[in-house]
Symmetry: C2
Subunit: 154 residues, 2 copies
């Protein structure tokens, strides 16, 4: 498993070790795939991509690793309504940054957007603060999606 740029260990190295997890070949491979795409990959998409380089890695391991990464907050899991979950790296040098999704209910296309993020962040901050206090609810994450029809479908 090569380092990403030859100058040192991948950025997730510390994160994994810090959480007490072993750095295995499958985990490297899966994180590599996630960090080198801007797509919204399903578990099987990731399995197929990983499989090209390491045919021995099984789908089960992909699912297990993804769950682990979601638990540790390194990966976000999304449901776009088509019956299979999608995964995105949540942060790090290769990630796209904070964004949300437009989901086309016609063709299933997903559009990332970052517009109005500043105002949105401000409202979210205020909302999170208020809700945390009112409901004694510790917020760790939020999800925003707009559903509708994309250019091709309307």
């Amino acid at each position: 498993m090569p380092w990403r740029d030859g100058t040192g260990p991948p950025w997730w190295h510390g994160k994994m070790k810090g959480c007490g997890y072993r750095l295995t070949v499958p985990r490297h491979a899966i994180l590599d795939v996630l960090s080198q795409t801007k797509e919204h990959l399903s578990a099987e998409d990731i399995y197929l991509a990983v499989h090209k380089v390491y045919p021995a890695i099984g789908l089960t391991t992909v699912y297990r690793t993804l769950e682990l990464l979601v638990q540790t907050g390194m990966v976000f899991k999304f449901d776009f309504g088509d019956g299979r979950a999608r995964y995105e790296l949540s942060e790090g040098p290769q990630s796209i940054g904070h964004h949300h999704h437009l989901v086309c209910t016609g063709c299933g296309r997903i559009i990332d957007y970052t517009d109005f993020i500043d105002e949105e962040i401000e409202l979210l901050r205020k909302t999170e603060k208020g809700l945390s206090k009112k409901y004694n609810f510790k917020i760790t994450n939020h999800l925003i999606q707009f559903h509708g029809l994309c250019g091709k479908c309307n």
Copy 2:
């Protein structure tokens, strides 16, 4: 199938007929269940509730009817991450009104909230307008969820 208050047909009567759908007993029963709860019911929850009154109504019909209601916009379908979809009446006399959800990742509890809705609506309106134009995307619906730990779980 009784009218809801004895003064006329249920509010959804016109909606169904208007869309060219037949008013059948199963559809009445399912809409009745949805309009008489504030819970976030799964398809099986609805099936069980309906089954008490009409044991002949099958789970398949519940799924089919829910899909129909989602398509026509009478019902919202949610995914709270536990592998089964939840359904809520989207409008009408009995509905709770516009709200969003706090999802506890510890115990799965769902809390409805309506706080900050005005400011949120304003931002959403602006965002929807901007996104519609920029991406030529016709927005029909939006989804907002906060994930975290509820009072019992933290």
